[in-house]
Amino acid sequence: MAGIRIESLAKRYNAVSAVDGVTLDVRDGEFLVLLGPSGCGKTTTLRMIAGFVAPSEGCVRIGARDVTHEPPYRRNIGLVFQNYALFPHLTVEENVAFGLRRRRVGEAAIRTRVATALSRVKLDGFGGRYPRAMSGGQQQRVAIARAIVIEPDVLLLDEPLSNLDAQLRHDVRGELRRLQTELGITTIMVTHDQDEAMSVADRLAVMEKGQVRQVGTPSEIYRRPADRFVASFVGRANFYAGRAERGIFVTASGLRLPVADLAEGADTLMIRPEAVGLRPAGADGLAATVETATYLGAGWELELRLAGGERLSVVAPDAGEHWRQGQILTAHVAPTAGVGMRTGS
């Protein structure tokens, strides 16, 4: 087991930067997720860690080893692909045994370790099957068993769940997290799905245009996003332009909202829809008119128009009210609900 340290990693194809100076420290045993839209450089970063792409700049360290110039087959990594990438001509057992055979492990040890790995992913008794005779979820579990059986220093997962249907995705991600905790193996996963990322990660690294925008725990990223891109990538958000004045954010239309920890120089305020409280008209807060109200079972989704003309999206749990279009109410934004940020441009 070992941590991973990536320093100013960059990959350029001719004039185009796919990855542009990524520095990351993944702690021993940590589950880090690289999250971002397609084309943000997350897969290229993962492939540089795996050794399939040679970096234009920077270095990759696994534990104390600098592996930047090592080929993939000398890095001792476990890799799980989106399309499973099982060996179609080998049985499940032989798929899992492949890495052990390359390491010249004895036949008896191979048998026990393969059996242990298969039972870890709940595939006891499937050893004699061929991949084509298995479902997508089972194939992905074989791929996971094949990657962990070699006791790799790090586990790299490239969109491992995106080929599975919704229910299976939910189950497999739970299993993945459980397995990772049990084995205590340093893991980096790439995904574009923020739910998936949030649910498994110890920490997230949100990427855009080849750079890491923010690194933090899921709640840090969600509650205190560093910029507008991160805020909207990990969830819904309301944004208001304006300026910070000693703990008060003043919107363009003149609304004054007290905000905790407001940095001077902030020019944008972000408010999550579920961080807004709804109160009867006349209560302390922002006067608002309901423009649309949609009942979703678990709660309400409201589009409000504030006195200054701004819109505010709100998601509120179902507390027995019945919100109607045109209704007047008060939106309460607690000082801790808003996050000030600098958009820079």
Binding site: A50, G51, F52, P71, P72, Y73, R74, R75, N76, I77, G78, L79, F81, Q82, N83, A85, L86, F87, P88, H89, F98, G99, R102, R103, A143, R146, A147, I150
Partner: protein, 278 residues
């Protein structure tokens, strides 16, 4: 009367279908005709081919077998085709890896070069190799011209384009992440190629071998300049036989050859889906 039939099809449609069936049957019959005629001929009893035949017999198969020329031609063709195919695969598999995987200047030119025997007339290939072998023989004293190895060398040119085309096509179809999985598990590129890639393109290799074999076995024009007494391929032996005698012996030999090649193709399509790999 609306023109509807019980089946709900209009007469025009029925006519069109019948016409399509008839046209298909006609084309198939046209293709099968030579095969059928040769088989029929080989069983005719008389020495002179007449219709209706004088009777039926298996004697020409016996006659063919007892012709030393034909029998040794058959054996020569068999091993020449086998060796040319094996060498062809040994050369083209590594070449196909480079062509399908590598990005290097002149890649396209190399591919076209390997395919070029397909566009050069066989007689030209045969003649040039003959001249070349004679020159080498004069320079070095090695008895190459007129040896069976000369034929093998020439037939290698026949098998290479087929093997290159089939093997590269199959390699391009291989999912690269499967190979990457092998690399990540500690297999070197060579071990990956041998234990993962080759087994995955196995059907393509079988198809390449069968096509190479068939093309070499049936070739006449390349071999024409290169055969020598005692070193004659079957098609050349047939040609020589026909020069002084026409009787159903040759039909019997042809049937034997058709059965052999047909069996190879059937066996291949059992192992692989030929329609898919070619």
């Amino acid at each position: 009367m609306s023109g509807e039939t019980i089946l709900g099809r209009r007469p025009v449609e029925i006519l069109a279908r019948a016409a399509l069936r008839a046209a298909t049957a006609l084309v198939l019959a046209y293709i099968a005709m030579p095969l059928a005629l040769v088989v029929w001929l080989s069983f005719m009893a008389g020495e002179i081919m007449v219709v209706p035949p004088e009777g039926y017999s298996l004697r020409w198969y016996g006659v063919a077998w007892n012709q030393d020329q034909l029998r040794s031609g058959f054996v020569t063709s068999l091993w020449v085709a086998a060796v040319a195919t094996t060498l062809g695969l040994l050369v083209t598999v590594p070449a196909s890896f480079a062509l399908a995987r590598g990005r290097f200047p002149g890649r396209e030119a190399v591919l076209q070069l390997l395919m070029s025997p397909l566009i050069v007339p066989g007689i030209v290939i045969g003649a040039s190799i003959y001249v070349f072998l004679v020159q080498v023989e004069i320079e070095t004293g090695l008895p190459l011209a007129g040896s069976a190895w000369g034929i093998v060398v020439a037939h290698l040119l026949l098998t290479v384009p087929w093997c290159v085309r089939l093997v590269t096509a199959n390699l391009v179809g291989v999912n690269r992440s499967v190979e990457e999985a092998a690399l990540s598990l500690g297999a070197s590129p060579l071990v990956t190629a041998l234990t993962v890639t080759l087994p995955m393109i196995w059907p393509g290799l079988v198809a390449a071998a069968v096509f190479g074999f068939v093309v070499s076995f049936g070739n006449i024009e390349v071999s024409l300049f290169l055969v020598a007494p005692g070193q004659t391929t079957l098609p050349i032996a047939i040609l020589q036989y026909l020069q002084w005698k026409i009787d159903p012996t040759i039909a019997a030999v042809s049937v034997a050859q058709i059965v052999l090649i047909g069996a190879a193709l059937v066996a291949t399509s059992r192992i692989t889906n030929l329609g898919k790999v070619v």
